[in-house]
């Protein structure tokens, strides 16, 4: 049932307003900014919970003449986004001030950091509630623009380079998807059936898809998948991803892998997925891109020495699973894709935050220089291990469930070759992460690292609680969802049904 509500507007307005406040007070203290961020995001989280509870009762929240539209999928994304945003903001409370303390322009940097973090979440929430295909492009581009200066936060050679690459690749990529959306629009306005209806609405896409020429749909979808795929980090548009993830501050890396690339997957779920069942070539095209991402991502991850680059390449590989599931257009596929999306958000954020803690204490991200940290940092070690085993797809953790749903969905759709590639990638992922965990936490650290640890009595004692709590919460979430997947099932089911409803044209 459609219900008029202010909640979908508030969910993006609150973080945006808080972001503007943070950006306006350039000389305010670190405390001021962190309070604004944590409170603003806690409020956003509360609203997301309210939207979720409404949506689970079978309602769809609309506002502004159907231009804003929150269904199960929006609720899922917003819940994940605001939850991750809040944890990242808490993690940043101590982490970010320490890392900019020596700079003369530290207050301005903090203002930029928190302002853009909040603006990003505002834009991301907007992306997830908009019902217009052109606003989908506009807000998606805005999420990129908001995160570029977060990637270049340290403002030094390497981070500037990473930010530049990120900006160029994603901005140009997204222009292709704009062209795809415009093609669909241009085909649709000519249709006599669509006279008097708003052809820009996502909820009308399936009706449009059945009427416009096949060549328009196929070309438009190829452009959409390329554009949104660049945002999601699919191979061959992934070149920005490892650089940006590695050079950004640790909480931002967690956000990039956790949420930013998922927005690209969300856009694919809202557009290409709707067309996929009517046009089988789209399913095959997505499956090929996704399989390529899985294999290339994990092979590159295996040869990395930098922890964050390894995690970033693994994200390329994992986003392949998500997109492959979403591209199938079947209940099982979409369900598996969204389940994996949620799980990967939690697990990868956990891993990036742990990697940030390791680098914070030892001063290095190179696995060859690390070792023996299990005694120095037991909590981080447990968190990283849970994350590593989870992302490898081992029971009883959450990713095990979503990966097997996806294997079943892909095989069920008749793409046996893709299922084989997915299983093979899963095995390589286990090997990659178990090896990484062994190298970091056992063995002997290099002399430089030992010196760094000895200096100022390094170890977990140096980690502030504000950094440990988000990691522990994420680790608990990983285990709990793995043991009781029923907790998240109603929301996933509702999100999947929402996509299928649009797909069948039941409006």
């Amino acid at each position: 049932m459609m219900v008029e509500s202010w909640l979908p507007i508030l969910v993006f307005a609150i973080p945006t307003i808080c972001g503007v406040i943070s950006l306006s007070f350039r000389r305010a203290s670190a405390l001021f900014h962190s309070v604004i961020a944590v409170l603003g995001l806690a409020g956003t989280f509360a609203i997301s919970v309210a939207i979720t509870s409404d949506v689970l009762r079978g309602n769809v929240l609309v506002a502004l003449n159907n231009a804003v539209y929150a269904d199960g999928l929006s609720a899922l994304m917003e819940l994940l986004g605001s939850c991750m945003g809040m944890l990242v903001a808490i993690y940043s409370i101590r982490y970010i001030p320490i890392h900019v303390a020596r700079r003369p322009d530290a207050p301005q940097r903090l203002s930029t950091y928190y302002g853009l973090l909040l603006l990003f979440l505002g834009m991301m929430n907007w992306t997830c509630v908009t019902n217009s295909i052109v606003w989908l492009y506009v807000t998606l581009e805005a999420t990129t623009l908001a995160t570029v200066f977060l990637v270049t936060f340290y403002w030094e050679r390497r981070s500037l380079e990473a930010g530049y690459k990120y900006f160029m690749l994603v901005t140009i990529g997204i222009i292709f998807s704009l062209f795809g959306l415009v093609l669909i629009y241009s085909g649709a306005v000519e249709l006599p059936e669509m006279q008097g209806r708003d052809v820009l609405l996502i909820t009308e896409l399936s009706r449009i898809g059945r009427k416009i020429p096949r060549s328009v749909v196929l070309l438009a979808n190829a452009l959409l998948i390329a554009g949104f795929g660049a945002k999601a980090g699919l191979v061959p548009f992934h070149a920005w991803l490892p650089d940006a993830h590695a050079e950004a501050p640790a909480p931002i890396s967690a956000l990039l892998s956790g949420i930013v690339i998922k927005v690209g997957a969300y856009a694919i779920a809202r557009t290409a997925t709707i067309f996929a069942p009517q046009y089988p070539p789209i399913i095959v095209f997505i499956a090929i891109m996704a399989s390529l991402s899985m294999v290339v991502g994990i092979l590159m991850a295996l040869v990395q020495d930098d922890i964050k680059r390894m995690l970033a390449y693994s994200s390329v590989s994992q986003i392949g699973y998500v997109v492959e599931g979403l591209g199938l257009g079947t209940y099982l596929g979409i369900y598996g894709g969204l389940f994996h999306l949620a799980n990967h958000t939690i697990v990868k954020a956990l891993l990036f935050l742990s990697a940030g803690a390791i680098a914070h204490v030892t001063g290095t991200r190179k696995m060859s220089e690390l070792g023996g940290l299990v005694h120095r940092m037991p909590v981080t070690a447990v968190c990283f291990f849970i994350g590593a085993l989870a992302i490898g797809g081992l029971p009883p953790f959450n990713v095990f469930m979503s990966k097997f749903t996806l294997f079943a969905a892909v095989a069920d759709a008749g793409l046996i070759w893709a299922a084989v590639i997915a299983v093979f990638t899963g095995l390589l992922t286990v090997a990659c992460f178990v090896r990484a965990a062994m190298r970091i936490f056992w063995g002997k650290p290099s002399e430089i690292t030992q010196a760094a640890l000895a200096y100022a009595n390094g170890g977990e004692g140096r980690l502030p609680m504000s950094m440990v709590i988000p990691m522990v919460l994420l680790a608990i979430l990983t285990v709990v969802i793995g043991l009781y997947p029923g907790l998240i099932h109603p929301l996933l089911d509702s999100a999947t049904e929402c996509i299928l409803k649009v797909l069948r044209g039941a409006f």
């Binding site: 217009s132 807000t139 093609l183 306005v189």
Partner: protein, 227 residues
Amino acid sequence: MPLAIQQSDILALLMIAHLLASLVAAELRNLRSAVWALIIQSFLLTCIIASFAFVWNNYTLLIWAAITLATKVVLIPSILLYHLRVTSLVTELRPLIGLRASIIFGSILVIVFYWLLRTYIYFVAPTQAALVEPARSNLAIAFCVFSLGVYVLITRRDVVKVVIGLQLLENGAHLALITLAPTLPPTTKLGIWTNVVVAAYMLIKLAEGIYKTLGVVDTLTLSELKR
């Protein structure tokens, strides 16, 4: 017989001038002149959009034209010219391709693309609206400008030139957008244009950061993060 200049003649003239200005903006080695060529290119884009408003009797297109004038002709070039004044850069860093070769290659690129696209427009924009003049030629021009932008992005090392390339690419994309979807509601246009301005500003900010930390604005030096 009175001398009759037809609407379509003016449009054709504007389109050709637009394409030539794009080529000049891409090729000029003096950065300030290149920015001025970009200003002329964007102004011609504004004129094309405005004349479409009269050809199609769709006067909301005049809002598009006004926004284009404000952002593409005034705002973005001002940011670029300000950047040039602050950094006192004059000549472009030597591109990957020589001047003569670049002019020849650029011209061939434009001519071949124009011919290919105008003939086979159905493959890139398979809708009815795209097949009718002046939309057909216009789309071909739009894709030419777009591909010229991509070419500039690939071969140029200077960040200012990269911004110009990005602007060409976006101008091409927006010309295609206007041709295919002239009836888009004004709010969406505003959203798209805000993004364009913010993106240009951010790229210049990044360029300034790169200039301050590395002393050059050479995108080729940005290659530390390999593998």
